[in-house]
């Protein structure tokens, strides 16, 4: 075939009527992303024609590598934004700093007064004890906490998919289902919703309109004559390069299972369940259809403005209460925070990492108390 192609002054792929076009494209992309190896990009078609088996193998290995990199990125993002891990790591590093500094003083300063020496030794003892307890709690967290959270596998694929696309997937993005059909419902329903909103409220025109309405969801819903829920998702799923205020998002069902999550630097989110019960997203279940606006203040002092809304998921059934889903978007952007309420809700991320001692919503002890 190669000889014929040469004689006819054609590319080999032209003789196969483009049958290998997708493989050639994939290999071209791979070559571009590994340019240091200096692959002969201009001879890819010849490579595919001459060694079809090896070419397919290389394409397959490239695809696997890319998927694994995306999975790793999503997992790293989840680890970085898990409130328990973040708070615990902060505590561990603070403990280590105290131990290191104190031990260094004891080891290098020769003339420490006896009472100070005794005090530093006592500090070392209590710091090392706290460090050991925190480390044990972390081990317990990984050993037990996540085992009871059965919502994880069902939504993990959806979380990975959205995170890998920065919550704005291209039109042709297809989710990869890794764990079987049980992955599908959340992923497909959230993707269909996104595509519908993207079609009805194109990001390009929405950005300017939202700015002229002060990024107010109710005002925008009236302007577009659409649902507030559609506006909330549109605001949280805008392309990063448009200068639109960054909105985080969390969507939960009535059990509290996290169906969709987009954390921001200002507000970490739980992976699957168990956020702070004071968050408006949970209170919205008591007032379906009512948009709740609240300013949340975290124990660190960080503030975000939130909009939360719960709505029925379907037509419902006779004589049964509706099944609801609740959604909350939030932002710390100055353009949005100008609408923030003066009196904030003093909330946290999760009881076990929240130092607010007298919170009436507390259900477990502060891990570092």
């Amino acid at each position: 075939m190669l000889s014929i192609a040469r004689e006819l002054d054609l590319q080999p792929s032209e003789l196969t009527e483009g049958a290998d076009a997708s493989l050639i494209n994939a290999l071209t992309e791979t070559a571009k992303s590994h340019s240091t190896a200096r692959p002969e990009v201009d001879r890819i078609e010849e490579f595919v024609g001459r060694y079809p088996g090896w070419a397919k193998l290389l394409g397959e290995l490239s695809r696997i590598t890319r998927e694994q990199r995306e999975t790793l990125t999503a997992m790293t993002d989840q680890m970085a934004h898990d409130p328990f891990i973040s708070e615990t790591m902060h505590q561990i590093l603070s403990n280590i700093t105290a131990i290191r500094s104190t031990a260094s003083i004891l080891a290098t300063a020769g003339d420490i007064p006896a009472d100070m020496q005794a005090r530093f030794l006592a500090n070392l003892h209590s710091d090392s004890q706290r460090l050991s307890e925190t480390a044990q709690k972390m081990v317990d967290f990984f050993d037990h906490d996540n085992e009871t959270d059965t919502s994880g596998p069902a939504t993990a694929a959806a979380h990975e998919f959205w995170a890998s696309h920065d919550h704005v997937p291209p039109p042709d993005a297809q989710p990869a289902l890794k764990s079987g059909p049980h992955d599908a419902p959340v992923l497909h329903s959230t993707l269909e919703r996104y595509q519908s909103i993207q079609s009805a409220l194109p990001a390009e025109t929405f950005a300017g309109t939202a700015a002229s309405h002060g990024f107010d969801p109710l005002s925008l819903a009236r302007h577009y004559d659409t649902s507030v829920m559609a506006i909330l998702f549109r605001m949280a799923q805008m392309p990063a390069d448009m200068g639109f205020p960054v909105f985080g998002l969390i969507e939960v069902d009535m059990s509290g299972a996290v169906l969709m999550r987009k954390p921001t630097p200002e507000l970490a989110l739980p992976l699957y369940s168990s956020a702070c019960p004071l968050w408006p997203i949970y209170r919205a279940f008591a007032q379906p259809g009512q948009v709740l606006r609240a300013t949340l203040e975290m124990p660190s002092g960080d503030r975000v403005l939130t909009y939360a809304l719960s709505e029925p998921t379907g037509a419902g059934s006779y004589d049964l209460p509706a099944l609801l889903r609740s959604t909350m978007i939030f932002s710390a952007d100055n353009r949005v925070m100008s609408q923030a309420l003066a009196t904030p809700v003093l909330a946290g991320l999760h009881c076990s990492v929240c130092p607010r001692k007298h919170c009436e919503a507390r259900r477990v002890d502060y891990i570092l108390a």
Partner: protein, 121 residues
Amino acid sequence: MHERVLLIEDEPHIVEALSFLLTREGLSVSTHSDGSNAAETAARLTPDLVILDVMLPGKSGFDILSEIRGTEGMAETPVLMLTAKGQSRDRAAAQAAGASMFMTKPFSNREIVANIKALLA
């Protein structure tokens, strides 16, 4: 006259160790452990240098730094920020808020003393 340092940090054993260390270096050290009124304390003491933890109860170190920068006579006061998170986001936020220097925990005594001396020079 001793140069005055204000240490705003909520971890008591870090406060004790740094206070001891800096006092031996000839500095006069004041401490504050709560974020909510830290800027007021800084305004009252007008120290020569502020050491400021990022994560404090009541208010974040970034907000406190912004308030300090808005305080009369403290726009140029050196501020060394401490954090247990070394992400670039925190560094960028510290820089935007007007931090003079940023250090990630755990740091060595030698390193922090050297940085403090450099900021006071």
